[in-house]
Subunit: 345 residues, 2 copies
Amino acid sequence: MNRPEIHTMEELSVAIGVSRPTLSRYFQDPTSVSRSSVEKIERGLTRVEYVPNFFATRMNRKSTGIIGVIIPYLNDLFFTQLLESVERAAMHAGFTVITQCSHSDPLTESRAVETLLSMSVDGAIVTPLGEQTDLRAYARLKAKLPFVLMDSRPKTLMDVDYVGSDHLQATGAIVDYLCRVGPPPVFLAMPPGNFNAGERERAYRKRMTELGHEPVVFAQTQIDDLSHYEEHGLAALGAAFSKGQYLDQSILCVNDRVAIGALRAAAQYGLEPGAQRRGGLRIAGHDDYPLCPFTVPALTTVAQNVGAIGQAAIERLIYKMQNRNLPLEQEVRLIDSELKIRQSA
Amino acid sequence: MNRPEIHTMEELSVAIGVSRPTLSRYFQDPTSVSRSSVEKIERGLTRVEYVPNFFATRMNRKSTGIIGVIIPYLNDLFFTQLLESVERAAMHAGFTVITQCSHSDPLTESRAVETLLSMSVDGAIVTPLGEQTDLRAYARLKAKLPFVLMDSRPKTLMDVDYVGSDHLQATGAIVDYLCRVGPPPVFLAMPPGNFNAGERERAYRKRMTELGHEPVVFAQTQIDDLSHYEEHGLAALGAAFSKGQYLDQSILCVNDRVAIGALRAAAQYGLEPGAQRRGGLRIAGHDDYPLCPFTVPALTTVAQNVGAIGQAAIERLIYKMQNRNLPLEQEVRLIDSELKIRQSA
DNA sequence: AAGAATTTTTTACACGCGTTAAGACTAAGC
DNA sequence: GCTTAGTCTTAACGCGTGTAAAAAATTCTT
C-alpha cells in the first residue's frame, strides 16, 4: 500500500497528466476546473502521495487564509472553551487557525504577535494577558492587520473592535437574584490587575448602589500569583471567616474559580452554603465553569455565552478582512450572560 | 513613533547598508556575523519596522525549526497542562510550536496531520483521540517524519516511540494505599474506548489479584458522550448507591473528572467520603487535576508527572530529529506518578 | 608593510507554487 | 464545415528568502 511520494506540483502534473497551473487552480478551488479534469486529478491523487507545500502556497497569495489567535493561558477551562468556539467558527469559514498561547508571560505574548505578523495572517483574534501586556506589540498588530479583542481589553486599547460579555447585564442579573433571595451580597474580588475582575467589581458596585444597598468588597489575600484563583478564594474567604465575618451573608465571587476556593473555605468552617439551607451563607460565582454542576454544593453562577462570543469575534474579524479598504467604525459587541441557579445560592 | 515599514530583506539591506546574505545569516544565527555587523544591523533595526517572512524563511531550509503538536481536545485541564509543558520545553529548545487540536473529531484530527505534513514540521508529538482515530493518517506521519506518541497510544501503533505514565506503578500505588487504610477498593471504570482507561482498569485488576483481593469493576451508565466524565461518574456511582451498593466501600475512579462526579454523587446521598470519617466510604481519583485540592472533600489521587512527560517527549523527539539517518530502536518511556493523599480517601 | 585570515559583497541559482498571457485544443451551436 | 465559447497547455515571471561560489574588502599577524 506504499504509494509513490511526490514532492512538487510539477512532478504531480506529469504523473497525472494535467498541467501545473490547472493543478494549482484545482487545489485552490476545485470548481474552477472542468468536471473531467477534476475526476482525472482525483483519480490520480489516490495513486500518489502528495500534499501541497503549506509555505509555498501561502507565500505568493494575496491572502494567506490564516487566522491567528492569541490566548493568555491554557490552564483555565473558560479560555479553552472560548478557543474551541473560535477555532470551530474559523474552520467552518474555511480558514486555517494558528493558535499561540502566551503562557502568562508578556515576552511570550510579544513573540506570539511577531509570529503572527511574520506569517502574514489575514487577521487576528486576541485575548490580552492583562496589565503586563506589552502594548507596543498590539500597536503593531493594529497598524498592520485586522484584529479584534476578545473577552477583555486593556484601557489603553479602547479604540479596537471588541467582543465580550456585558458585565453590567451579567453581574446585574446575579446581584438582583441574590438580593431577591437573601441579604445584599458581599463581593469577593481580585487584587487589581485583571481587566474583567475590575469591570465586574464596578458592575457590582453600580448595581448595588442602584438598588440602594451599600457595596462591600473584599480581596485581602497573601497569594502572590494572581493566576491561582482558587487559592485566592480559599484564602480570602477563610481569612474573613476566621474573623467571624460574612458567615451568614451572600458572597458573590468575581469568577467561578475563586468561588470554588470559597466553597472550600466554607466546607473547612463546616458551613454549607445554599438557598435551601438554614444559616444564610450563600456563594455564587461567575462564568459557568464546566465543573459548576458538580461542585458540592453545585455552584450558582452566571454563564458567559462562550459560543456566541467566539462566533461573533470570528464574524466581525472576517467582515473586517473583507473590507480592509473601507474605513470601518469601531464595533463593540457585548453579549448577554445567563443566570444558572443551582444550589450554592 | 511611526517607523518606516520595510517588507523585504532586500529593502532592509539598502536601508541598513549591509548586504542581504549577511542579513540572512544574522537572522538565522547572529553569532555567524562579526560583532561590528551585528551592532550595525541592530542599530538599523530600531529605526525600521521589519519582520522576516515566516514562509519564505522556512521554505528553503533543510529544517523548518517547527515542532507540531496534536492534542485530542482542550476542555480538559490535564491535556492543557501537558500541552503547556510541551510548548515550554520546545520553545526553550528554540523551536516554533504549531499546535493543532482535534476537537474530539477524527476528521479534524486527520486534517491536523495533513496540516503538519504540509508544513514540513521537523517532528511531531501526538496524543491520539482514541479508538476513533484514523490510523492511516498516523501511518503517513510515521513514514514521513519523526514523531512520538504522548499520554496514550492505540494498540495498533505499539511500535512507535511513546512517553506516558506507568499505569502499573501509578494505579498500583493508589491501590496499595487504599488497601492499607480500608477495604480493598472497587474500580469505577469507563465504557471501553479510551486507551488509558483500559490500561488503568487492567492495572487495577492486576494489583488486586497480586494482593489476593477480588477485583470489582463497574461502569454502568446511560451517558452516551464519553467526554462527559463528570456526568459519567455521577450517574454510575449514583446508580450504585441507589441499589445500596458500595455505600461504605473504597472507590477508585479511573480519573479525577470521574471522581469529581463521584464526589457529587456521594454528596447527593448525604455521604461524606474520607479517611477521617466514620462510615467507610472513600473516593480516590487519578491524575491530580488542578482542582483536586479544592473539591469538597479534597480529592486523594495519583499525580501524573505532567512536566516530566512533556519534557521527555520533546527530548526524545529532538534526539530523533537529530539522528534521522540512524536506524533507532523504539523507545518507550514510562514515568512514575506520585500519590497525593488528601481527604477523600 | 606584506601576507594571511577573516568577513563581507556580488552574483546567481534555488525553493515550490501563484499568476498571467498567448496559443492550442475541445465541445458545442449554426 | 465554420465560428464561438470554454478549458487547457505552454512558457515565463514573480514571491521573499536560503545558499553557494567567487571576488572584494577588512582585519589581523609577523
